[in-house]
């Protein structure tokens, strides 16, 4: 390998550091006469719109028009699955839902105009929490079931317990907020620049709203300033507003959400409520679990159903559950429509089983890491949905290697000494594993396509179905094409993602885009080489099978010609210099009715060790050190993959510690901006942060032996939550420690208080007697 597998900077690194890399909204000045959009926001959490009068807005200077349901030539609904996402709702389903959009010559004019649109509402009662939704039996989906064995085994277990865990959601906080620009193109179609992970779906929804065939709509995504799942389906509505505005006004229209609008309008990671009961043997082995997962889906279905399924698929994490009875519901509440977010339900499922394991360990008086280890999948095991856990042995391998390299056992002892010597500050240490299934669980999404064009000078353009959101997909595609064709990276240009280059694509999601599109790029390059080889063979006067591509040359044993020369010769011989590539993941299927199948092509594995220090006076804490060992197969792009591991981990740390979404009693999002919703900054990065790849981890069937790495590392952050629990436990007397997620300083503070109270109660004569 000359290019693939090498550490190269991000394909756009130079553009990033110079500011020359363009994002959707950077194009605004290229559209003279562009109109700016601002939404009319409902001040109610749940209400009927009884009257909407746009006329006063038109009196505002600079307002051009107001978009309402009456302007929709097609179908005014953006729901990707069900038709449950009206673009101009009659029933307001969450606080600040947009009920109309004002287009102005300036953003200021549109904003002032929006304030003048007269809307009358009839307020209705709202459901704001999962508990309220359960009580009202308000579900989008559920119950759905996944089971194995007989969970009544719990009743005869040596250790039985039950509990509840509230898991908070997470704002994506992609640095680039939602953005779209739409205009009528030169041939009467609609063109859209959209910051989206799914240009094809934007195309579909825009065509639906405008009532035109999809071939009338072209969507391009240059790149995104972060997405993390937040732009998988939720870009649709904003592109639809822009397209509708352009359709109506015949002028370019820009929709760009401010941060405050983005946080108010767009969906987030699903909050979950987990209710569980579990049975364990005295040695810490799981005998059975019953888990009910309730996700807060918000007002419409969105991607909540597959998110729920992925949570159920991952309620085992890396552990063999001999008996499991899993039930899932998607609750319908009056909040933003919660959506895809890195991990896609997996994190919530895994957090639940990790909570159960830690509680079991502390109740049994066993080290949590020992209980975890005793329950690992072993070779030949199947999951609770009947899939063989391929390469299950890697879990144990990673675990032992990481314990060794992180000095786990020795640090356990050091921490014990530290804690003995410090009354008000305690350290905690934890190691947790990750097993994450790779593939879209909806089987039909698992396809990728590419278009590779070679020009006569030997330069190459690659288009593929995936979008670039910072994850380095384009970098990997560039490496794969260059490797395959034997060219330098610079000879391969990755083109912005467009629906008129590669049609009917899947969302760039599920960590699978490098696998799917990479295989498609490779397929196209392989076809081209097959066409070029005979041309080269005739130039080199050798047999076709002797021809090799490498070093910008096409070679045989006795000579070589420059690649460009072969391309020129091929052109003159009337050989087509472009090819489409295609790939579909083999061997995967799942039957929801029976709850059995093989939904994942393979699993990505990893583990992390984290150490924290808690200040008992405040509940504040610091992450001192994290060691990660990740199975990324044979990485195609080590810099990119390391970036995914580190970035995913820190994003997970944010989800589990400081990122707290708070809705007030009226259903208004109280953490609605960057000053009230805090994501990790420098202060959350561990002082020591060591990341390694598992060696000898070639993934058979993966592109160049590589493995998906986008989502799995997020869940390595569970080690931080468990380390916090370990530190809190050190304030107490060995009892169970629980706190809801995220583990904010406030929650940690009160958990410390409970632990201290428990210790003091035991230390007092009465308490000691009670224990005896």
């Amino acid at each position: 390998m000359n290019v693939a597998g090498k550490s190269v900077p991000h394909e756009s690194a130079r553009g990033h550091v110079t500011g020359e890399a363009l994002y959707t909204d950077d194009l605004v000045t290229r559209f003279p006469g562009i109109l700016h959009a601002w939404p009319v926001l409902a001040p109610h959490t749940h209400a009927m719109v009884t009257r909407l009068d746009a006329a006063p807005a038109l009196e505002e200077p600079g307002v051009f028009t107001v978009l309402t349901a009456a302007d929709v030539p097609g179908e005014g609904d953006c729901g990707p699955n069900r038709r449950d996402e009206p673009l101009f709702p009659k029933e307001v389903m969450f606080h600040q839902q947009a009920v109309a959009w004002v287009l102005g010559e300036t953003l200021e004019a549109a904003r002032l105009g929006a304030a003048r649109v007269r809307v009358d509402y009839e307020p209705l009662p709202a459901l704001l929490t999962i508990e309220e939704a359960i009580a009202a039996e308000s579900y989008h989906v559920g119950p759905v079931h996944l089971a194995r064995g007989d969970a009544s085994a719990i009743e005869s277990s040596a250790l039985r317990f039950e509990g509840e865990l509230a898991i908070g959601g997470q704002e994506h906080f992609y640095l680039e907020t939602m953005a779209s620009i739409a205009w009528l193109d030169e041939s009467g179609g609609v063109a859209i620049e959209s910051s989206t992970q799914h240009p094809t779906e934007v195309q579909e929804i825009v065509a639906r709203v405008l009532g035109v065939a999809r071939h009338q709509v072209m969507v391009e995504c240059l790149r995104m300033g972060g997405a993390f799942g937040g732009k998988e389906v939720q870009s649709n509505a904003y592109a639809a507003v822009a397209a509708l505005g352009a359709w109506k006004t015949r002028r370019p229209v820009r929709v760009r959400l401010t941060r405050a609008l983005d946080m108010a309008l767009t969906g987030k990671r699903h909050p979950f409520l987990a209710r569980y009961s579990a049975g364990f043997a005295a040695d810490g082995r799981i005998e059975g679990v019953r888990i009910a997962l309730y996700s807060d889906g918000g007002w419409n279905l969105d991607l909540s159903e597959p998110v729920l399924w992925r949570a159920l698929f991952h309620a085992d994490n890396a552990y063999y559950l001999p008996a499991a009875e899993l039930t899932g519901y998607v609750c319908r509440t009056h909040k933003t429509s919660q959506t895809a977010f890195r991990g896609f339900g997996g994190p919530q499922g895994m957090l639940t089983i990790e909570e159960i394991l830690d509680q079991a360990a502390r109740r049994l008086g066993l080290p949590p890491e020992l209980v975890r280890e005793r329950n690992f999948y072993r070779g030949g095991d199947t999951t609770h949905y009947g899939q063989i856990v391929k390469d299950a042995g890697r879990i144990e391998t990673i675990w032992q290697q990481l314990k060794q390299s992180s000095g786990f056992d020795q640090r356990r002892a050091e921490i014990q000494r530290f804690n003995t010597g410090h009354a008000h500050h305690k350290r905690g240490l934890a190691i947790t594993p990750v097993k994450f299934g790779i593939s879209f669980t909806a089987t039909f999404f698992n396809q990728g396509a590419a278009l590779v064009l070679i020009y006569r000078d030997g330069s190459v353009q690659v288009s593929h179905g995936g979008t670039e959101m910072g994850q380095g997909l384009h970098t990997k595609m560039q490496q794969i094409a260059a490797e395959s064709l034997g060219l330098a990276l610079e000879a391969v240009r990755i083109m912005p993602t467009r629906t008129d280059k590669v049609p009917n694509t899947s969302a760039t999601a599920a960590s699978a885009s490098a696998d799917l599109n990479g295989a498609a790029v490779l397929d196209a390059c392989t076809q081209l080489k097959e066409r070029l080889a005979p041309v080269a063979a005739s130039l080199l006067e050798c047999a076709v099978h002797e021809v090799r591509f490498g070093g910008e040359l096409v070679c045989c044993d006795h000579g070589s010609v420059p690649f460009r020369q072969v391309c020129e010769a091929a052109y003159r011989q009337r050989v087509a210099l472009f090819a489409q590539g295609y790939y579909r993941t083999p061997e995967i299927y799942f039957d929801q009715q029976t709850g059995r199948g093989q939904p994942f092509y393979y699993f990505a594995y990893g583990a992390a060790v984290s150490e924290v220090e808690v200040d008992g006076f405040t509940g504040g804490y610091r992450l001192l050190r994290t060691d990660i060992l990740q199975d990324a197969g044979d990485s195609v792009s080590p810099v990119v993959d390391r970036g995914q591991i580190e970035g995913g981990f820190i994003q997970g740390v944010g989800w589990l510690t400081l990122e707290e979404l708070v809705w007030d009693a009226q259903g208004r999002l109280a953490t609605s901006g960057a000053s009230t919703y805090k994501l990790p900054s420098w202060s959350e990065v561990p002082d020591v942060f060591q990341v390694s790849f598992l060696e000898g981890a070639t993934e058979r069937g993966g592109i160049f032996g590589s493995k998906a790495v986008g989502e799995p590392p997020l869940m390595l952050a569970i080690s931080v939550r468990e380390a916090l629990r370990d530190a809190v436990a050190a304030f107490g007397a060995g009892g169970v420690v629980t706190f809801a997620s995220p583990a904010t300083p406030e929650r940690v503070f009160f958990a410390v208080r409970r632990a201290v109270a428990e210790r003091e109660a035991l230390a007092s004569p009465a308490g000691g007697a009670a224990r005896r």
Partner: protein
């Protein structure tokens, strides 16, 4: 309105070229202006100075020369740029050759989605050229920039890989002084921006135009503009009033002009108390500290501002001027109600004065969800002096986030006076605190937590004193 003063276009240097503006509204941000001109390297990530994606650098005075100061262009109204020299990310690479900060970020894998990257590059650039800096760049200088992709490790590595600023025009520029700030009189769309140069002139404007709104660093006011759509007919900048820019350290006190920025205070104060050193890095972020002033922080009278609790604990005195002449009051009496101060309409906050010598022992504590650059759930400034017999001679327990105003918990202070500082006096002070504080529950924390943690901080203060004494 002071219609007699002649209005002039705004002039400043942008990427080395003079710019003249006549028709932008006074509340157009520098960021929007740049992007409208096609300089789209600076991005809007939050429009409230939290994310740093819009960072540019200003040339500011530093001793006899100058320094590049990273600032949030989303928080600078365009007229505030008048007279300044400003550089954006587009100016850094010369003839296609990246500067070291750019090279380091690219080589370290410091960009993923790239949206925050120009901001990081500008902060890192300013840090590399910071006068007097030795060794590698300090990653803390990037504390005002958020990245959602990388997890910061590669960016930290990029900062640590950068050594001394290379020779060349960027360094040469710093040998020369910053452009002097002159008065500004600018009008557009019926609104006016004035930058007076003396206190008397400023008071005259306030007297003539009661609606005029004062603006210092703008780090709060611009947020009101950007996020809440507040519009003003008249803004009066304090940036060029010499008296408000003074920092004076004498035997008896440290006097800090109301328009001195937080980072300037840090640079000029030779031997501040320990609590100040704890306070500064917890107060906002580097780019905000490059613009935010102590006067602005106190005049917002926010119950969760970080300035008041520390300054109250240090017995600071507020100075202001107006029609009734020069007035002063202890800061403890300065806040008269929710977001209200002792100042009357038309008065101008001029300085804060901190008596010397400082307390024998002082601490600043900030409790928040994020360790740095977050808004306090509870903030506390505490200070104590003892007599020769080891009894408490003076105690100051000041809090933010526990009532409608920043306050001194005088009942708790009195409860410990004349006592030894031990666990039992801590308990007594904690009980007094429970009677004094009136915290509320909100998205930052519950009332229960606020009270409990405020009490706990008293114990922490005792503990840290004990640890220090033992050491």
């Amino acid at each position: 309105m002071n219609a007699s003063a002649a209005c002039t276009p705004l002039r400043f240097l942008l990427n080395g070229r003079p710019v003249s503006i006549e028709s932008s509204s006074i509340q157009t941000t520098l960021l929007d202006f740049l992007r409208d001109r096609g300089l789209t390297g600076a991005k809007e990530g939050c429009a409230e100075g939290e994310c740093g994606a819009c960072t540019v650098v200003l040339v500011a005075g530093d001793g006899s020369g100058s320094a590049y100061r990273a600032v949030n262009s989303c928080l600078l109204f365009l007229p505030m740029a008048a007279g300044h020299e400003i550089y954006t990310v587009e100016s850094l690479a010369a003839q296609g050759k990246l500067t070291e900060a750019q090279q380091a970020m690219a080589a370290a894998g410091g960009s993923q989605c790239g949206y925050c990257t120009p901001g990081f590059v500008m902060s890192l650039f300013a840090e590399q050229y910071r006068p007097g800096r030795l060794g590698p760049c300090d990653p803390e200088a990037l504390g005002g920039n958020l990245c959602r992709c990388t997890g910061y490790r590669p960016i930290r590595d990029a900062a640590l890989a950068l050594g001394a600023a290379p020779e060349g025009p960027w360094r040469d520029r710093l040998a020369k002084p910053a452009p002097p700030l002159e008065s500004v009189e600018y009008e557009s769309e019926g609104a006016r921006f004035t930058r007076p140069t003396t206190v008397a002139e400023c008071l005259g404007i306030l007297a003539a135009d009661p609606q005029a709104r004062l603006i210092a660093g703008g780090t709060d006011l611009a947020v009101e503009s950007n996020l809440h759509g507040r519009r003003w007919g008249r803004l009066v900048s304090l940036e060029a009033i010499a008296e408000l820019r003074e920092f004076r350290e004498t035997e008896d006190s440290v006097r800090i002009g109301a328009a001195v920025t937080l980072n300037e205070i840090a640079a000029r104060w030779n031997a501040p108390p320990e609590s100040f050193r704890q306070w500064l890095p917890l107060f906002a972020s580097p780019p905000l500290r490059n613009r935010a002033t102590l006067g602005g922080n106190l005049m917002t009278a926010s119950p969760i501002g970080d300035g008041a609790p520390l300054l109250m604990a240090l017995d600071a005195v507020a100075h202001w001027a107006g029609a009734r002449g020069r007035r002063t009051a202890p800061l403890a009496e300065f806040f008269t109600g929710y977001r209200r101060t002792a100042l009357e309409a038309g008065e101008l906050f001029t300085a804060i004065e901190i008596p010397r010598p400082g307390p024998a022992f002082s601490r600043f504590y900030k409790v928040a969800k994020r360790r740095v650059d977050d808004i306090s759930t509870v903030a506390a400034g505490m200070a104590m002096d003892w007599d020769s017999a080891g009894r408490i001679a003076r105690a100051r327990f000041a809090f933010g986030g526990v009532a409608a105003v920043p306050l001194r918990a005088t009942a708790a202070e009195e409860a410990v006076l004349g006592e030894r500082w031990n666990e039992s006096t801590v308990r007594r002070a904690q009980a007094a605190l429970a009677r004094t504080l009136e915290p509320i529950s909100d998205h930052r924390g519950s009332a229960e937590y606020r009270l409990a943690v405020a009490q706990s901080l008293l114990e922490k203060f005792w503990w840290e004193r004990r640890e220090e004494a033992a050491a």
